[in-house]
Amino acid sequence: MIAGRQTDPGAPGRSALLNDGGELRPVGDLENRGISQVRLISQSQFDSAVREALAREILAIASDLTLANPDRELLIERAHARLAGKPIEPTASVSPPRPLAERSAARAPELEPIPLDDPEPSPHPESAEFDVEALENRIVEEVGRLVSQNWREELRTAQDSQRNVIDRLEGRIDSLMKALDQIERLMDHQHTRPAEGMPTSFIDSGALGGIKNELMEQLFEANLALRELEAGEEG
């Protein structure tokens, strides 16, 4: 959040600074809310900080920028100068960018080579001089587009990965539910009418089930022997 003596929150030059969800509030308003420790920075300081951040970003992605070498060198030189605190020429002779409509759709994610004026004569006949800040704005726009595209791809990749996991889990749950349903039906059948020929090993597949089956068989044999003994005595 930036605290500033904001008098016109809708001013065009500031609206872009509010895109990330931050907000500008009058200092008096903050003080009325009990916030006494407020660090004030001027609009120019803020602009400078943004430009420094942009310069760092340009240096970081300089090798990936598909710009004509002189253009890239000029940008890098300006970025270094800004970070070093050296004075920067407010304007420079550069060739204007081609209209966006002329750009190849297939190359959209990449920065178009933007012809900048070299000390030598420009190879482009349509070259004309224009403000270098306009070029920076275009670069910001392109960088933003690339970043947002990369972010969307990241997001899509993450979603695909999660979807795969979810699909696998749903498949597993489905197969487990089917198995549970089958077991419940067998158990119900066993409880209401213990089935002849029903695979008891299926009902009690564990070690305990094995012991139980063995014990039940022994118990049955013992009780059968009791009856046979009784029948023998009666006979």
């Binding site: 409880h191 014990l215 049955f220 009791l226 009856r227």
Partner: protein
């Protein structure tokens, strides 16, 4: 109790479960309460029924418990009474009475306890006494069966728990009277085995069933217990009652009481711990109701069974595979009505320290543990076994 469920047992779901009242200290039949859960099973008032009802029966010297596949569980004192003369017939009706009703009207009834020391008493009797005791056993078992509320025409398959040292003759007698009581197919198991089955303690465990007539100790090693795996101690609930009575008579000769009053007092205040509540009962003294503190009498009498139990455990452990003695000592399950004695688990654990220590576990619902295990066994027994026994 859930009256709503009782009025319409099929309303909420699939299975009718009838729980005995949690108050298990009185020796009378427990009024069941009903919860509705699971698949619908009709009670005896309905005409539709499943083909077979499975029941588990713990035929005890003092009380008999039944658990049924329709969810019913019930308890009844193992006593039968018939009107002793024309006057009592006129007052009470010409019918056999059971449980608490017998105790209530005992002066007007010819009373018979058909079980003694956990076994059917008639096998040791002769002549008319034998016939009378056998008839009482048959009628008691038929009554226990009826408590399970089988539907008309429904076959009843029962597993009946017998004392661990019951003789073959006694087991045969149980089968005979079960058939006479209208049970279609019956299987006899040792009572501790049934308790073990209910808690799945089928190997490397010792199960102790503390009843009125006997304390049965049974070692489970994954096979059907043999004589070597079982010990019966003939100092159980009834023994404790007599010991309390003996001490009370000696300490308070003027107090008037019966053994049944002692039994109730013991179950209300059973304790073998020093910090338990005082056991104060109201017994008549020269006809005047008087409060009597019987704490010491109860404690001394109950403590008499602990050494017997510990010695039985020692014997079963010492003759077990040395490699598994530690494990079997750590799995000592205690069930039966006597296991409700407050502090008993701690007392047995304390006693076991002298033989190397161990872990004593009280089973849930100790009074129904044997019946529950018998029912579980009945339900899991393959159908072909039941059919073969039915036709044998």
């Amino acid at each position: 109790m859930n009256p709503k469920a009782r009025s319409n047992p099929q309303v909420q779901g699939k299975e009718l479960i009838v729980n005995a009242d949690s108050k298990q200290d009185a020796p009378k039949a427990v009024e069941p309460s009903i919860q509705v859960e699971g698949e619908a099973v009709k009670d005896s008032k309905d005409s539709v029924a499943t083909d077979v009802m499975y029941i588990g029966i713990d035929l005890g010297t003092s009380r008999s418990a039944v658990a049924s596949s329709n969810g019913v569980r019930d308890l009844v004192s193992s006593v039968v009474g018939w009107p002793k003369d024309n006057i009592s017939t006129k007052v009470l009706g010409d019918k056999t009475m059971f449980g608490e009703d017998v105790i209530k009207h005992r002066l007007a009834l010819d009373v018979c306890w058909p079980l003694a020391d956990g076994n059917l008493a008639f096998s040791d009797l002769q002549g008319e006494d034998r016939n009378r005791s056998r008839r009482a056993a048959e009628e008691l078992l038929a009554h226990v069966k009826s408590l399970a509320r089988p539907t008309r025409g429904q076959a009843v398959y029962a597993v009946v728990g017998a004392p661990s040292e019951a003789t073959k003759a006694n087991k045969q007698a149980i089968i005979d009277i079960a058939r006479a009581a209208g049970i279609d197919s019956v299987m006899v198991v040792s009572e501790p085995f049934a308790v073990a089955y209910t808690v799945d303690a089928l190997e490397d465990a010792i199960v102790i069933d503390i009843g009125a007539g006997t304390i049965d100790l049974c070692r489970m090693s994954g096979t059907l217990p043999t004589a070597e795996d079982q010990i019966t101690v003939f100092k159980a609930g009834n023994f404790i009652d007599e010991e309390i009575a003996k001490r009370l008579r000696a300490n308070n000769p003027q107090v008037q009481f019966t053994i049944n009053m002692i039994k109730k007092a013991k179950e209300m205040f059973s304790s073998v711990t020093d910090n338990a509540q005082r056991a104060v009962v109201t017994f008549p003294v020269d006809g005047v109701p008087t409060e009597i503190d019987i704490t010491n009498e109860v404690r001394e009498a109950v403590n008499l069974i602990v050494p017997e139990i510990v010695d039985g455990i020692r014997k079963l452990v010492s003759t077990f595979d040395p490699e598994f003695q530690e494990r079997i000592r750590s799995r000592v399950f205690v069930g039966g009505g006597g296991s409700q004695i407050y502090g008993l688990r701690e007392a047995i654990s304390e006693g076991m320290k002298k033989i190397g220590g161990g872990n004593v576990i009280l089973v849930d619902e100790p009074v129904f543990a044997g019946a529950n295990g018998a029912l579980k066994l009945a339900r899991e027994m393959p159908a072909q076994y039941w059919e073969k026994l039915r036709n044998a």
